[in-house]
C-alpha cells in the first residue's frame, strides 16, 4: 500500500512514466526529483501517518525500494511495530 501511494503520486502528480517502476533496481535519483518534489512526495505519507519523516534528502542516494523500506520502518517505529492501513486518497492538502 505504501508503494502504491508513492507510485500513484509520482505518476499522477509528477508525470513519471509508470514503466520506471518495473525496474527493481530503480534509484530515487533516476526519478529526477528536486528537493521540493521530494518533500511533496513524502508529505503524501506524512499526511496519512501523522508525523514528519526525518532528513528527506538522504533518500536521494537510495534505491527506490530501500526508500520505501526505510519509510515503512519509520512508520512501524511510530506505531508499536504495526503498519496501519492507509487510504490511497490523501486526507487533505
Amino acid at each position: 500500500m505504501l508503494e502504491d501511494i508513492v507510485k500513484s503520486y509520482l505518476i499522477d502528480n509528477k508525470g513519471k512514466d509508470p514503466a520506471l517502476f518495473d525496474n527493481p533496481d530503480l534509484l530515487v535519483s533516476e526519478l529526477k526529483l528536486d528537493s521540493l518534489d521530494m518533500v511533496e512526495m513524502l508529505f503524501e505519507i506524512e499526511d496519512r501517518c501523522g508525523f514528519q519523516l526525518p532528513d528527506p534528502m538522504r533518500y536521494a542516494q537510495m534505491h527506490f525500494s530501500a526508500m520505501l523500506a526505510d519509510i515503512e520502518q519509520a512508520i512501524r517505529e511510530h506505531n508499536n511495530g504495526e503498519l496501519p492501513a492507509f487510504d490511497l486518497q490523501a486526507t487533505s492538502h
Partner: protein, 406 residues
Amino acid sequence: MGAISPLGADRRQSFAAALAGRCAIGRAAPDIAQWLPQVLTAPAAAEPSSLLDPRCAGLDRATQFALVAANEALCDAGIAAHPDDARRIGVYVGIGFGGAQTVDALYARLQQTLRDNGNPAVMHPLSVPRMMANAAAAAVSMQYGLHGPSYTYSVACASSAVAIGEAFRAIRDGYLDAAVVIGAEAMLTPGAMLAWNALRVMAKPDADDVSRSCRPFAKGRSGFVLGEGAAAIVLESETRARSRAQAALGEVCGYGCSSDASHLTAPSSEEQVTAMRQALAQAGLEPGDIQYLNAHGTATEAGDVVETASIRAAFGAAAERLAVSSTKSMHGHLIGASGILEFVLSVMAMNAGALPPTATLDEPDPRCDLDFVPRTARHDCEVSAIMSNSFAFGGSNVSLVARRHD
C-alpha cells in the same frame, strides 16, 4: 484583457452581465454563514481550477484566478509562452491579501489536528509558496517564461490599480516593452470574512432581493459585499504593438497616486482630488475630455459622499456632464482585484459606447448628486476617454485614465 469575476468566467461575459445590470451577490456559503448568517458574498462565476491544467489544482485560489485571467489576456493579445523578447516583458500583480485561502486552510487544519491530538508539525510543504503574496506573479512568469521583473503590489483596494500604473511607468520610461498586469483576490473564507465583518463595513441583506444589497451612492446604503476573482491586461509600448500589427483596445495615458496620511479607513477628499488631477494632467486631458468614470463607490456611508465631493472638485463644471457608475453594485468589492476589473470594464465600455450602471441605485443619497447611471446601462454613448478610481484602506488613492487608440 481577461477577467474571471462574479459576473462571468471571462471578460466578455463579465461585461455583458454588467451591461445587463445583473447583480451576482448572494448569501455566503455554509462554512461562513454558520458564524455570520447575515453576511453576503459575490463568488466567482466559475471555479478557476476547472479552467486550468490539473497540475494547478494545488495552487492558492487567488493564483488560480490570476492564471485564468492572464491566460485570456495573453491569448487576446496574441502573446504565446516564451516570447523572443521575454526579458523585456514583466509581470505586475496587485493583490490585497495574498494566500488567504491557504492561510485559512492552514489554521483550520491546525485546529483540527490539535482537537484530534495529532502532530501539528505535519503541514503541506508548499504552504509557504502557496501563501506568499507573489505566488500569482511567480506562477504567471513561470508559465509564460517571462523574464522581465515580476512585481507584486499589495495596496489593499488599490493594489491592481497601482500595478497598472507602475507597469505603465516602466514601459513609458523604457525599462520594459510590455507587461502582463493582473489583479487577483480570493478571500471568501471563514477567517477572512470574520475579520471583515468585525470592521462593520459589510452590506446588510436587502429584504426584497438579496442580490441588490450593495447600493453605492444610494440613500440607506449599508456597505460593500466582498467578491473574488481576477482581471488582467497586457500593456505594450506603441512601438512593440505596431511592430506586430496588434490592434490596441485602448491607451493607458494617465496615472495619479497620492496618500491621505491621515486615517486608516476614513477617506480624504483632498488627496483623492490630487490623484484624479495628476492622472488628467499626465494624460494631457481636460476634465471635459472624460465621458465615463468608474467610481471606487464602495457603498459605505463616508466613502461615497467623499468621492462625490472629490469628483466635483476635480472635474469642476464638467462633473455635470460626466457619467459615473459603481459596478461594485453588481460584482461586489474584489479588493486587490477591483481596480483592474473596473478598469477592464471601463475600457470595454469605452469601446462599446455602452456604460454599465450603478445597478442598485433606486433612491440616490441627496449628498451624492452626480449622474450615477442609475439602474440600467446607457447605450449609444460617445466615449473617447475614461477614468477609474481606486481608493484604499490605508489612504492610498489611485486614478487611471485611458483613451481610445484609433
